[in-house]
Amino acid sequence: MSALTFKDARNAPMSRSPRGPRRPQPSVQPGLFGIRSWKKSRLVLAGVFGAVSVFPLLYLISLSFQPTSDIQTSNPVLIPTHPTFLNYVLAWSENSFGQYFLNSLVVALGTVVLTVTLSSLAAFAFARYKFPLKEVFFYVFLAALAVPSVELIIPQYLLVLKLHLTDSLPGLILIYTSENLPFAIFLLRGFFEAVPKELEESFRLDGAGSIRVLTRLIAPLSAPALAVVAMFTFNFAWEEFVIALTLINSSAHRTLPIGLNFFIGEHTTQWGPLFAGSVIATVPSVIVYFISQRWFQRGVSLGGIR
């Protein structure tokens, strides 16, 4: 943010002159694309981008309502001719899908709560305190961005084995949280630093302790960043595949992505229930995304890269 205001100040003389005397409004508003005739082609291209982005998902929804005879013909069916709920019924009744859904929800929410709490505390320390080796600690956290997920699966597997956390949802929550901490701390630090120092001082003069400053002042003002962290963390935990595949071995503790994998048999794939299950698995991520979307842009632009 500071870089941006600096740049604005530097450009001030240039920018003020055309604005000052209120020249006749140019036929285009200031933008990255000045030529108005581009508007139509921009619209078309944006439509193409949008359509390509959603098409596979719309197709997935369509497939989930198709009977097996339509799914497994040699002529793909785009719009279900004989729509059926059978796939959903099968998906939900087989392989205790409801249990997987619940497990995923527990893991995802647990990861969100733990990640948001721990990363807020840590980011608060990085943003608001001076202490020896601060930047060293920060870079140690950041370094993990280069070694995420699958890369550490072997030692993590052995560790979890030793801690007797295999095949348990808390084990997954702890690993998922650790994986998400670096990004979350990185994003939140930038945001927390942007809260004016004077506000914190007046809070402290009223007798507020550190935790109160964080929960009553900094966190509410950083809601967009917290929403972004919560969304990314939720999605990470909700869709994570390899770690869950490796650490979970009993049916009772399977998460959704692993559950979906079981519709793929050795010889035959139950495509219908797989598609229905996929739709069920996708709905929560999309809902979470649309809820957090209103903060999203701001969260990315202010916190992410400055």
């Binding site: 240039m14 000045g34 291209l45 030692p155 690993i175 992410g304």
Partner: protein
């Protein structure tokens, strides 16, 4: 947390002028507080990320067995030497590098292009933005299945569309052949990845001072020149950031390969991590897999530092 909160407040009742009695105590809390705040995150991070990094190196120097009563002899660098003589590693590295070289630039160009289309006012802008980002929030497992079906041998949409254009029935067994299998993996990855670089570039383009663009335009600069000399320099930090994270992400490609082709046929579409995973959890060669992963981590870290350096230098010039 709340109890801690209240004790902190009780230490300094509002009646006292700040710092009257508890100055000493204040100083202690001042020094200790950041560490206390950092501790829970640091602890978890140390246990589940930092320790495994070192443990991975450790395992890679042994012939490590998962079974408790078997000896784990120290084998020095032999696991690393083996990497350089393993033909499957060659294939997997080639596929990984190819994946990186193809998917990263395409994701960046498409992401920036889409961001450029949607940064200014446009009818339905919010909707287009939301739609383009949606693939990012869907799960790798789900989209891998959907694309595996679309590129299916029988009744797949891809074959149907190609047949339509070709005028006769085309049956490509996409996932059973090396090049087509790789192509499907690239297509899924680009489709799912564009939205992320899009949102990053969108945020960056929002920060480009419009007045600057406008005055360049008033001075008669052409649109491509404005982009080259005004817009691109302004979003350079984001370009660096996006490139570095995409390269890291591409080197970690796993789930889409694991699900669509499974590395097949005969390992010809496998990438480094699917190969390492297979070595560990199918053949129980934990040490060999750990050596592969460790070497990869070092290479990726080096690559990231190199990229940041190079891009910094470009800015200075």
């Amino acid at each position: 947390m709340d109890s801690k909160d209240s004790t902190l407040v009780e230490q300094r009742p509002a009646v006292l002028p700040p710092g009257a009695v508890s100055r000493r105590r204040n100083r202690f809390t001042r020094i200790a507080t950041p560490y206390l705040l950092l501790m829970p995150a640091a602890f978890l991070y140390a246990v589940f990320i930092v320790y495994p990094i070192f443990r991975q190196f450790d395992i890679s120097f042994f012939n490590w067995h998962i079974f408790p009563d078997v000896a784990n002899p120290f084998v020095g660098w032999s696991n690393y030497i083996r990497i350089f003589h393993d033909p499957a590693i060659r294939t997997a590295s080639e596929n990984t590098v190819l994946f990186l070289v193809i998917t990263v630039p395409i994701q960046m160009v498409l992401g920036l292009f889409a961001a450029a289309l949607l940064t200014d006012r446009l009818p339905g802008r919010g909707l287009w933005r939301a739609l383009i980002f949606i693939p990012v929030v869907t799960s790798w497992v789900v989209v891998s299945y959907v694309f595996a079906y679309i590129f299916g041998f029988q009744g797949g949409l891809a074959n149907a569309v190609i047949s339509l254009f070709a005028g006769h029935t085309v049956r490509i067994d996409w996932l059973a052949q090396t090049w087509t299998g790789n192509a499907v993996i690239w297509i899924v990855s680009i489709w799912k990845g564009v939205g992320w670089s899009f949102i990053m570039f969108l945020a960056a383009l929002d920060g480009v001072p419009r007045d600057l663009v406008e005055s360049a335009r008033v001075d008669g600069a052409s649109e491509p020149r404005i982009w080259r000399h005004v817009v691109i320099p302004n979003i350079r930090p984001t370009i660096t950031f996006v490139t570095v994270l995409l390269v890291i992400g591409a080197s970690q490609v796993f789930t889409q390969v694991f699900i669509t082709t499974g590395g097949g046929p005969f390992g010809s579409t496998s990438v480094l991590l699917t190969y390492a995973y297979q070595q560990a959890f199918s053949f129980f060669n934990f040490s060999y897999a750990a050596a592969i992963a460790s070497l990869m981590a070092i290479v990726v870290l080096g690559l990231s530092i190199l990229q940041i350096r190079l891009m910094r230098r470009n800015v200075d010039q």
